[in-house]
Amino acid sequence: MSATVETLEAMERPPVSMGSRLEGELLEVSMGPQHPSTHGVFRMNVALEGEVVRKLKPVFGYLHRNHEKIGENVSYLGSMPYTDRLDYFCSMTNNWAYALSVEKLAGIEVPERAEYLRVILAELTRLQNHASLLGFLLNDMGAWGTPLMYAFREREKILDLFESLSGSRMMCDYMRFGGCRVDASREWLAYAKKIVDRFPRFVDELEQLIVGNEVVIARTQNVGNVSPELAVSAGITGPMLRACGVNYDVRKVDGYGFYPRFKFRIPLGEHGDTYDRLMMRVLEMGESVGILKQAFEQIPAGPIINPKVKIRAFRPPVGEAYGRIEAPKGELGFYLISDGGTNPYRYRVRPPSFINLTILEDMCLGHTVADVMVILGSIDIVMGEVDR
């Protein structure tokens, strides 16, 4: 079946203006819902010119599980287990953000020990989230699997802590309005202290293996630069914002949950490129270990839940409230409108990774396809929170 000359002529492309014959046309590719390094079901329609990205349109909604509609049909306490499934890497911080905004809505105080437990668990969540992120980021860079094994080894230790305390590895559902559900025993605190004392060894190992590695430096430095003005205007929060040099951390700004009592610094980047974002996570892990050490010493004895809060028919007064915390991915906020009933009238989640994706196209234009994966990996998105 040889292709004769005539058939070849017929297949010849219609004459195209001389200019574009050299550059070649745009190739439409969809880095679709099922992709090894989109961290879940996230799709990008990319128009490529050779290797360089010319257009990039993100497509969301493949994991839109109607969290807010269900939030309106379920009681206040009933939504607490749903918040675990929002950002399924950091269930403790989701619970805390929701509990904080309901406490603001209903005007509930939290006893000291509960506040300390919340800080400890939030910082532990930050450790395992940043460790997993670095594992996945290097996964996207091509170091397939091995750094992820290191990261998940550390993550398993912290998940054991969560499981022994709250009963479940990932879906802890641990916090209640006005405190926590279970008290941390002395052995648990001692065991947690031992794990936290050994965590810096993992951070140093990571820093030695990866941060100084020239392949990582070549692949991440001045890739996906973000200017501070664009970051502020696009509502970017969390390590991604601090990588551009804007000093804004909700723990310092709002001072919720006894954070002013702890001495910790906020790492800031200068160029806002992927390497700075990677370094933000590494340095924040160091800071979190510092906070944990101080919290372990200062944790007082005492009740862990405010006895005056009704569990059964919990009806906050009519009104609205917006509470926010510094989740590992950014500023996680809950906006609740109550009409006096047992169900919230409106239940809104401010998802940090969804809004951090606003400037994904601005960061990726002009870079090659391989860089798009690294940039997306450095934003640290979790689809449960992006699509809600």
């Binding site: 679709g32 493949y62 994991l63 599980r65 749903y82 499934r85 094994m149 990932m170 879906m171």
Partner: protein, 207 residues
Amino acid sequence: MSEGIDEVLRSKLQQQGVWVSSMQELYNWGRKNSIWPLQFGLACCAIEMIATAASRYDIARFGGEVFRPSPRQADLMIVAGTVTKKMAPQIVRLYNQMADPKYVIAMGACAISGGPFKQGYNVLKGIDRYIPVDVYIPGCPPRPEALLHAFMELQRKIDEQKLSGANKAAHLDSEQPSEFPVPAFGKHDLEPPANPDVFHPPKLERV
């Protein structure tokens, strides 16, 4: 295990150092110990699937650690997470594009029946509405050990597949379809809402 070989005879021969097997046993033994899962995580269960593939709960002990990104090279699809109506056509298309001896594990309550998000308007109440599922694992998310148990369950199921005869394995039987129609996006819901020849809900007689 298979009618062909008489077990007593086989054990006697084995004592004499003679090893007897049948092609079906070899065929199933080879396939069950090297299942390549499709790299396909939807939601929280995907993180437990990765934890299973990580070093502590090591799925490599069962030969399943090779996670293939492309459906062409995968023979097991672990539907790990909530199946939304926007994602359902993609899942069915991926299932169709997989090579033939293919199996499906519905991991987690969401993939089985919509799970905690059942009241959602965009949530498909279970993936077995569109594609046949071999092993269901309840749990939200199921622990890594549960996924390993499902993996062993699937291996047991593969082991009992017949090469020929009436109830031979689905992929060897030319009547059994290896493709299922991909649902289309409708105005209010997916069209059709369920695939009748795959989804057989039990008719509960309201006594």
